[in-house]
């Protein structure tokens, strides 16, 4: 049953050191505010799952909070590489991290399998690809009808999934629209789902019956954080801050610049700053 909490409490009550956690969002609705709160609380030794680790995991890795990353595309979308994650992999700075690498198809279906309560996802994939040689979690099953060898990967079952959504209803149901990504699956695959939202509305009456909605009984906690996806975007609220993604390429290129940026923009501020960051974009 969804509890409306402050972001501080929503993170503190649901994310523990050593947890396996997914902060999901496929370009759209990336839960930056929740990740920054986790960074401020210094919750470490995390196994981070995400299809597209993106800036938000670059920051968590750069702050030394990750011990392992499960992913399928570690880039700054449309810009280039993730420089803090590279520094961790190539140089062990600030600490070495383990990586478990998949394809997007495998990751998406591993969430889907997790949401379906299954231990694995079975699909046609990885043919001729070297990932199967370096990731022992990529195995196979044989179709008992055709004899075809299909790829198999373990389901994702995060301890916690954080997502950002447009709206919660007063009852604690959550609405996601636009590019919905894997958020529904990531939330349902997790033991605990925590959602930041732009706003709370009385109910979803009058909305289309087939929209993507997470009922309140699938969610542990909701925190209202306007702008909480910035520099990602919230369809219907504010656009993607593409310039911030371009700027990150420079910030993340230098260890000291990164540390200073994190101090000024994450550690020294609170979740309320996100509303002001998106003000100019609207």
């Amino acid at each position: 049953m969804a509890a409306f909490l402050s972001l501080h409490d929503a993170v503190a009550e649901n994310l523990r050191p050593g947890d396996t956690v997914a902060f999901e969002g496929f370009t759209h609705l990336i839960p930056h505010a929740a990740a920054h709160e986790a960074i401020r609380q210094g919750i470490g030794d995390l196994t981070l799952i995400r299809m597209t680790p993106d800036i938000v995991y670059d920051q968590m890795i750069g702050m030394g909070l990750a011990k392992k990353v499960v992913f399928s595309y570690a880039g700054n979308p449309g810009v280039g590489l993730l420089r803090r994650m590279r520094d961790a992999i190539e140089n062990g700075y600030p600490r070495a991290i383990e990586t478990v690498e998949h394809s997007h198809s495998a990751m998406a279906q591993a969430y889907e399998a997790g949401a379906s309560g299954l231990p694995l996802a079975v699909f046609r994939g990885y043919k001729g690809a070297d990932l199967a040689k370096v990731n022992p979690d990529i195995r196979s099953v044989t179709c008992p009808f055709t004899g075809e060898q299909l790829a198999a990967v373990p389901a994702h079952r995060p301890d916690v999934t954080f997502i950002h959504a447009q709206k919660a209803s007063a009852a604690g149901d959550v609405l996601i629209e636009g590019i919905i990504g894997v958020q529904k699956e990531a939330a349902l695959a997790a033991k605990r789902a925590v959602v930041t939202v732009e706003e709370v509305v009385p109910d979803f009456k009058g909305l289309h019956p087939n929209l993507c909605i997470l009922p309140h009984w699938t969610i542990r906690a909701i925190a209202v954080v306007p702008g909480g996806a910035h520099p990602s975007y919230t369809h219907g609220y504010y656009p993607r801050d593409n310039a911030a993604y371009l700027e990150w390429d420079k910030v993340s290129a230098d260890r000291d610049l990164f540390a200073a940026w994190m101090q000024d923009n994450v550690l020294a501020v609170g979740p309320e700053i996100f509303a002001s960051r998106v003000e100019a974009l609207k």
Binding site: A74, G78, E90, S105, R124, K127, G128, L131, V182
Partner: protein
């Protein structure tokens, strides 16, 4: 038109390869520009799909990421990412997959994962994303790449996505039923696989490009088709469409002040 850059020629040559009834899985960068130039010129009916789940998009500016808001706003429909990979990609609904590469070999095998050893990489690249399954599930694969000796290499460091493997019938031997790479468009030339060996051979040189220029920027001994064409230069419409698109894109991705 004679006043155009090699990159513009590459994008426009790639756009020309797309047909009005293609269903195209679009990557970011040159593929995205090529697909949208095709849509805005000779192929208005083309269906562009981005892996963010947006089906039938018609963006006015090129997205910076594969999940920019405009892709959704202009799409016929936006589905979840698991559905995109299950029903649309694995389901065999995509005719063309468009891929780029950090390293490419002569059989169309692609590396975007690591330079050097996987466990201790010299450069950790972003990785495959959708590419491993795009390469095997789409009807055929088009590749665009700016030529350079470090990009077009004899042996790639990591098989992120499988092209023709060691050549010949290697795909069929792995049980892959799709055609794989059928076209490589660089800033200098158009390449197509030899029907037997599946090695990429140059079938057309872009205007002003010599065989020496192609070889200097390619890490393997270049082969040429028996009849070698010259790529027609961009038309005014093509070039104008591309430049307008890029100007709109540049303006849109600046920070608003």
């Amino acid at each position: 038109m004679s006043d155009f850059t090699p990159n513009e020629m590459m994008t426009i040559a790639a756009a020309r390869a797309l047909k009005n009834d293609d269903v195209c899985f679009v990557g970011i960068g040159a593929p995205s520009a090529a697909c949208n130039v095709a849509r805005l010129t000779h192929a208005p009916g083309i269906t562009l799909i981005y892996e963010s789940g947006t089906i039938g998009t018609a963006p006015d500016v090129l997205p910076l990421s594969i999940g920019d808001g405009e892709l959704c706003e202009t799409a016929l429909s936006t589905v979840s990412v698991p559905e995109m990979f299950r029903y649309w990609l694995m389901g065999g609904r995509i005719s063309i997959g468009f891929l780029g590469a950090a390293q490419l070999d002569r059989f169309g095998n692609i590396n975007t994962t690591v330079i050097g050893d996987y466990a201790h990489p010299k450069v950790r690249l972003p990785g495959g994303g959708g590419a491993p399954e795009i390469a095997t599930s789409c009807g055929e694969i088009f590749i665009t790449l700016k030529q350079a000796p470090r990009s077009m290499v004899k042996k790639i460091d990591f098989f992120t996505s499988f092209g023709h493997g060691e050549g010949g019938d290697h795909r069929q031997r792995l049980g892959i039923r799709t055609k794989g790479p059928t076209l490589l468009i660089t800033d200098l030339a158009v390449w197509r696989p030899d029907p037997e060996t599946r090695e990429f051979t140059v079938t057309s040189l872009h205007p002003g490009v010599t065989r020496e220029m192609v070889q200097e920027t390619c890490g393997w001994p270049v082969r040429y088709a028996a009849s070698l064409d010259e790529t027609p230069p961009p038309t005014g419409l093509e070039l104008g469409t591309l430049r307008d698109l890029q100007a709109r894109t540049a303006a849109a991705h600046q920070r608003k002040t």
